[in-house]
Amino acid sequence: MEQVANQVIFFLLSAIIVVCSIMAVTSRRILRAATYLLFVLFATAGYYFQLDYHFLGAVQVTIYAGGILVLFVFAILLTSKLGEKSDRISSRKRAWGLLAAVLGAAICGYTLLTHDFFPSQFAQGGELDMKTVGHALMGMDKYQYLLPFEAISVLLLACIIGGIMIARKR
């Protein structure tokens, strides 16, 4: 019973992801594209929860759906008047894009399907408790991530300063 419910949820989420991403990419109104992106983000968060990565799902929801999307909406509102329809895409460009995407999908799909991954041991309920996550984050020895963590912090700082610098009124 449990299995079936998971299957259903999974199918539901993947449907949302696929449909919304295509819609986000092809819709002509920019704001609508943003909303479709929102749905895709939520669906990915759903995936994480389904794979028992609750912390990651939470992070995804807060940062992506919360932060980045809000930024997007601000940018959209600032740069383009509401309801303005972006012009038709020239067929030649679209053809190139389609060709590239489809070709890529075909190659990746083919490799994925033919490549025999070694057996996956899906340990059910391998919940990741926060303590281990915290230790790994702060640890110094081999598989621990203190250095990337600090690097990320420096990067974020730089981004903040960069953002301010760019947006400064000349």
Partner: protein, 99 residues
Amino acid sequence: MIYYVVVSTLMFFAGVYGFVTRHNLLAILISLELMLNAVDINFVVFNRYLFPGQLEGFFFTLFAVAIAAAETAIAIAIIINIYRNIRNINVDNVDKMKY
């Protein structure tokens, strides 16, 4: 397990299509986000299915999300600036760096 990866591939290539065909810089940014998320899914799925013990995939995605946030902030700042200079953010007009 395969389905996760198939879905993420589709998502990725939708992002690619969007990136290549849209005129609006923000739309490009959106498709970029799509691609990033597709990659995150992949990481998580591989970590979960193939390497349950380790945490590389997990942390990788964590950091990827953080960096994506920073990157989008900067991108949007730049876009706004471009908008401020040339009053529209159509990607074909941004070709000052041509030759």
